[in-house]
């Protein structure tokens, strides 16, 4: 089978072309060692099947980002039969810069001039024949979106692949051409793509210097002999300048600009979206709307308007997935009247997902013998555990749909633009705001959204912080603890009404502290550069969105079926069997996990919430919370936790521990696939250790207040002083280290 690679700038329509060419055969993975998407698929309309590899979007073949290294290594080492260079016809100048670099490699190249429809709509024209003559490779005008010219493109690429091609450069008649040919001669005789390697050596490319030290010495000598005027011997600048110079000289005549130069639609949209005053409010409204559609129980604010669907059982059943009876009972038990609004799409789908998994469980119960271990394994273990995770799929996908729309439309780049200033102080760039905000919904799509961050280290840090933003599944824990506080009924009872709010604020505050700590101790203190394109706004493509969602769904389902299923079965076993497991099922009080809880109780002792008689129960609930965070509540219910042994300090410490510790298995699995390998282990350690420390501090500070307010005050002052002193000390040390490094 022959293999073509798609290469091009971000936002050039490469993914749309890939989807058009490969249809349903596409599959997505990661490039080995890095979290960069690797898309592969098959094109079937030629005599031979063609494997298509979609390289990540890049601006250059320099070695500074993982995307660039992956693309360049693929073209050089894997030697695709043809490289299809996708070029945005509406933005020719910058797109051709990459083309001039690809052309230097010994590989057949075909240029796909994409977005011809948009170009025509703007009134501009490109003389394709002239462009083809200048570049020396076939150029085909296409519209990937409208599927125009794509089959012709593939035919031409197929023809091109039959003949080998040696690299050519636009630097040929420039001031550096002499050096290039000499360095070329100095490279090993059997090396392929000598031209490419020679040019990169002259640019001072780190990867090439490592690979060809001898040739580099010659290059260095030649460069020293001929310092290019105006650039002070900076050949990286010289080469870039010559490339752009060639492009603007030779290709300006290729483009015939229409005379009207007015304000485009995209400009008009942008004027509103990044408005000095309105940009941030608009962004907040958009985010509120997204969350409302995904998580709201009452989409149209019916309760606030005094409207209700509770007296219509059919409607309630429809909207809550057959939950009318249960809801009615629950409301009556609480002495309330059932009051329901029409839920949001996300909640609606989640209810039905829950209904389906419940139904599946009942179905198995109906024909499997009751009370046996294997019935329990299937119903409680697998269906119960995986079902809990699966019920989040609709909301995760919906959230992700909105992220994809924001990305595809070009708005995400503007969010980064708007928020960057605020985030840079914490060592993060503006784009990190989206994953963090998503964290309030669910950590899984939050971590997936971190992929929009370009810098790998920043991605790892953002994933690490995602748990600080209390997700939807943690909310029931806070609700439960709030009722416990109310039940204590001390003078601090007023805390129950603001408890949930306090926990959310605590999460944000600690996230800021964590980010600052990571910034201080990170080896790479500098924030990644923010030199990025702000693409023109355009309507997102339905097909691309669906392809995107399908990828995420597949990933998530595979995870649910493997890591999550395995871990839930293990937890099921631990909580349903005693040490003499051959004797069959036991109640959770007599299970292995209860004994583990007794041991863990001492581990958590310094945190103050396992000191009571039922302390082991909180330890167990924390462990079962790893399946899904709601399980903390259900475990407490099963075990009959009263909360009477907890003090206010203990409640806050318990909440803090559950907020900052390992998230559920689904999120851990997502973190693993979205982080770098090393980053993931650091993240796991971070979650383990930081939650313990935070919980510890919170308990002892609050506990001192419980003993006497002035002891608490002294301790608080001491801690603040310690933080300030250590921060000052660290800042000074880092300053000194930096000045030493530059000196």
């Amino acid at each position: 089978m022959i293999r073509f690679a798609l290469a091009g700038n971000p936002n050039c329509g490469k993914t749309t072309l890939f989807n058009t060419l490969t249809g349903s055969t596409a599959h997505v993975g990661n490039w080995p060692g890095v979290t960069v998407d690797k898309r592969e698929g098959t094109y079937k309309k030629l005599d031979e099947k063609v494997e298509i590899v979609d390289l990540p979007g890049i601006y250059s073949l320099s070695p500074y980002t993982p995307e660039e290294v992956v693309s360049r290594n693929f073209i050089l080492d894997e030697k695709p039969d043809c490289v299809i260079n996708v070029v945005d016809a509406t933005n020719l100048e910058r797109n051709l810069y990459l083309t001039t670099q690809i052309l230097e490699i010994d590989v057949p190249v075909v240029v796909a001039l994409n977005m011809m429809d948009a170009l025509e709509a703007s009134g501009d024209k490109i003389i394709i024949d002239d462009l083809q003559k200048q570049l020396g490779v076939p150029v085909i005008g296409i519209s990937a979106l409208k599927k125009q010219g794509t089959d012709e493109l593939m035919k031409r690429a197929y023809d091109a692949a039959k003949h080998s091609r040696s690299g050519s450069t636009v630097l040929e008649n420039s001031s550096v051409s002499g050096i290039i040919s000499k360095v070329k001669d100095a490279l090993p005789a059997d090396l392929e793509s000598k031209l490419f390697h020679a040019v990169k050596l002259i640019e001072g490319d780190e990867l090439e210097i490592k690979a060809h030290p001898e040739a580099n010495e010659i290059a260095m000598k030649l460069k020293a002999e001929q310092p290019d005027d105006g650039f002070e011997g900076d050949y990286e600048a010289v080469v870039a300048d010559r490339r752009y110079d060639y492009i603007s000289r030779k290709f300006r005549s290729v483009v015939i600009k229409a005379n009207k130069k007015g304000v485009t639609k995209s400009d008009k949209i942008d004027k509103v979206m990044t408005h000095r005053i309105w940009a941030i409010p608009i962004f907040l409204v958009i985010m509120f709307a997204v969350f409302h559609i995904v998580f709201s129980e009452d989409l149209f604010f019916m309760n606030a308007m005094g409207l209700n669907i509770a007296n219509n059982p059919t409607a309630v059943n429809f909207f809550t997935g057959m939950g009318y009876e249960g809801l009615l009972e629950e409301a009556m038990a609480n002495g309330e009247e059932l009051s329901l609004g029409i839920p949001s799409l996300g909640v609606f789908l989640q209810s039905w997902m829950g209904f389906l998994t419940d139904g599946l469980g009942e179905l198995f119960l109906s024909f499997m013998p009751e009370g046996t271990w294997y019935t329990s394994l299937v119903v409680d273990g697998i269906i119960g555990g995986v079902g809990a995770v699966a019920s989040f799929i609709p909301q995760i996908l919906l959230l992700f749909l909105f992220i994809s729309i924001m990305e595809d439309s070009g708005y995400m780049a503007r969010v980064a633009f708007i928020m960057d200033r605020a985030f840079r102080k914490f060592g993060l760039s503006g784009k990190a705001f989206i994953p963090m905000l998503m964290g309030f919904g669910c950590s899984v799509p939050a971590m997936m959204a971190a992929r929009t961050l370009e810098d790998e280290k920043e991605r790892d840090r953002t994933i690490r912080l995602a748990t600080c933003f209390s997700c939807g599944a943690k909310a029931p824990i806070w609700a439960m603890l709030a009722t416990v506080i109310a039940a204590i009924g001390s003078s601090l009872g007023f805390l129950s009404s603001i408890f949930v709010f306090l926990i959310y604020i605590l999460g944000i505050a600690i996230a800021i502290v964590f980010a600052l700590i990571m910034k201080l101790f990170g080896k790479n203190n500098e924030v990644p550069p923010f030199i990025m394109e702000l693409p023109a706004y355009h309507a997102p493509q339905f097909k691309n969105l669906m392809a995107h969602l399908w990828e995420k769904l597949k990933h998530y389902v595979i995870k649910a079926a493997t890591i999550i299923a395995a871990s839930t079965v293990v937890l099921w076993f631990l909580s349903n069997f005693g040490w003499a497991f051959w004797q069959g099922l036991v109640d959770i009080e007599d299970s292995i996990i209860a004994d583990i809880g007794v041991v863990l109780k001492y581990f958590f002792y310094p945190l103050g919430w396992t000191m009571g008689e039922d302390g082991w129960m909180y330890a167990v609930a924390t462990v079962t919370g790893l399946i899904a965070k709601e399980d903390v509540v259900s475990t407490c219910e099963i075990l009959g936790v009263s909360g009477s042994t907890l003090s206010i300090a203990g409640i806050f410490a318990f909440a803090a521990y559950n907020l900052f510790t390992l998230p559920c298995m689904a999120a851990v699995a997502t973190a693993k696939s979205e982080s770098t390998k090393k980053g993931f282990w650091v993240t796991l350690a971070w979650w383990f250790v930081s939650s313990y420390i935070v919980s510890f501090i919170i308990y002892w500070v609050l506990h001192c207040y419980e003993i006497a307010w002035w002891i608490g005050l002294i301790l608080t002052a001491a801690i603040i002083a310690a933080i300030v002193i250590s921060a000052l000390y660290l800042a000074r040390r880092i300053k000194r280290a930096n000045s030493q490094a530059t000196a």
């Binding site: 250059s60 320099s62 910058r94 870039a240 110079d245 408005h275 708007i418 928020m419 550069p529 990025m532």
Partner: protein, 77 residues
Amino acid sequence: MEKYLNEFAVGETGIVKKITADGKIKRRLFDMGVTPNVEILLRKVAPLGDPLEVTIRGYELSLRKSEAQNILMEVQK
């Protein structure tokens, strides 16, 4: 008149004279088309005062002031 890009006012246009940055930032600027003799228009400043949005080679580029202070410009008109 010469000044750095971060000192430009919105709507001002200039020609790049020199890039004084190093390493990754320099390379990134080159790759995005910020090379000597190219024309740059400062279009917008983000709501919080940073980063900047410029028009260059027919597209919109965003960069921070700290990055723009590496770009020496000749002001036009």
